[in-house]
Symmetry: C2
DNA sequence: GTATAAATAAAAATAACTTTCATTTACATG
DNA sequence: CATGTAAATGAAAGTTATTTTTATTTATAC
């Protein structure tokens, strides 16, 4: 992501294009594994000289709120983040072993939303969908180990 | 849930049928809202005389592990639990306003699992699906307030 | 350049959970 | 029924991810 592109996205969201925000975005863009706030912090503070962990948390929150990045669900219940080029509605296939994230477009929940609304009389507002497993590489590795 | 039924479930899991476990199950069965460990604790300690919060956490973990109860995802990232009579694979429609949980059987992710496996070369092991919104009652209330 | 609201750092606080370890209890066995 | 044993529990302390607070700095509109 070009520096100016990041700045544009931030201004569109009504956020100032600060060096810290740009670094956080830079750190996540193109990264194919999901990262924790702590990991983002450790990666960027080398380059920024210094940045506070609360700042990283705040920036990640803002970006997630604005849907620039996504939250990934993990069994350890920590917060993890991932940025995808894909800006349309979609979900993720997440590797339990190496943390790789792969987009998939199929959602197929529009129909379900309708069914739930009509059968319960309620209103559907959002949904969480995440598929977990082993990516191709980890799947292969595991087979080798078993041999 | 009859006391003896609870005991049977626990023994089948290789767990001792202790008064604390039975109370936790009793507390959750038939409850139509999801509850936190803290809430379960406050409800049952009145009846048990005393029980430690770590014990409640341990019991809830065991029951969730054994799939006797389910974890509910919440924006506050606390752990919430819900028990459904329905023992088959299914998911939940959760009210963001009153915490009510409604089962829905449709999952429709078997096909998706296959597609992901064949397109990525990986292996699908599990998935998370939760639909959020407003239950019928809360949806009605909200409309009234808007008027 | 300057004013101003927004952003940040540093430190302290929070709170949800978890661990430890000494004591108690369910229950299998005789 | 008595009893041995592993499993379960309580109390207290510990952990740690995340958040709050407040004084200072900075992006940006004018
Ligand atoms: Mn979807
Ligand atoms: Mn499913
Ligand atoms: Zn992998
Ligand atoms: Zn409701």
């Amino acid at each position: 992501m070009e520096r100016e592109q990041g700045a544009l996205i931030l201004r569109r969201l009504g956020l100032k294009a600060t060096p810290r925000r740009l670094e956080v975005m830079q750190c996540l863009v193109g990264e194919r594994m999901y990262l924790s706030a702590d990991e983002v912090w450790n990666r960027i503070r080398v380059r920024l000289g210094s940045i506070g962990l609360p700042t990283v948390y705040r920036i990640l929150d803002e970006l997630a709120e604005a849907r620039v990045i996504t939250r990934i669900f993990s069994a350890d219940r920590k917060q993890y983040f991932f940025m995808c080029a894909n800006q349309e509605h979609h979900h993720h296939f997440v590797c339990d072993s190496c943390r790789r994230v792969v987009d998939f477009a199929q959602c197929g929940l529009e129909g379900l939303a309708g069914e739930i609304a009509s059968s319960t009389g309620g209103r559907v507002l959002s949904h969480i969908l995440q598929v977990n497993g082993l990516c191709a590489e980890c799947s292969r590795t595991e087979s080798e180990v078993a041999r």
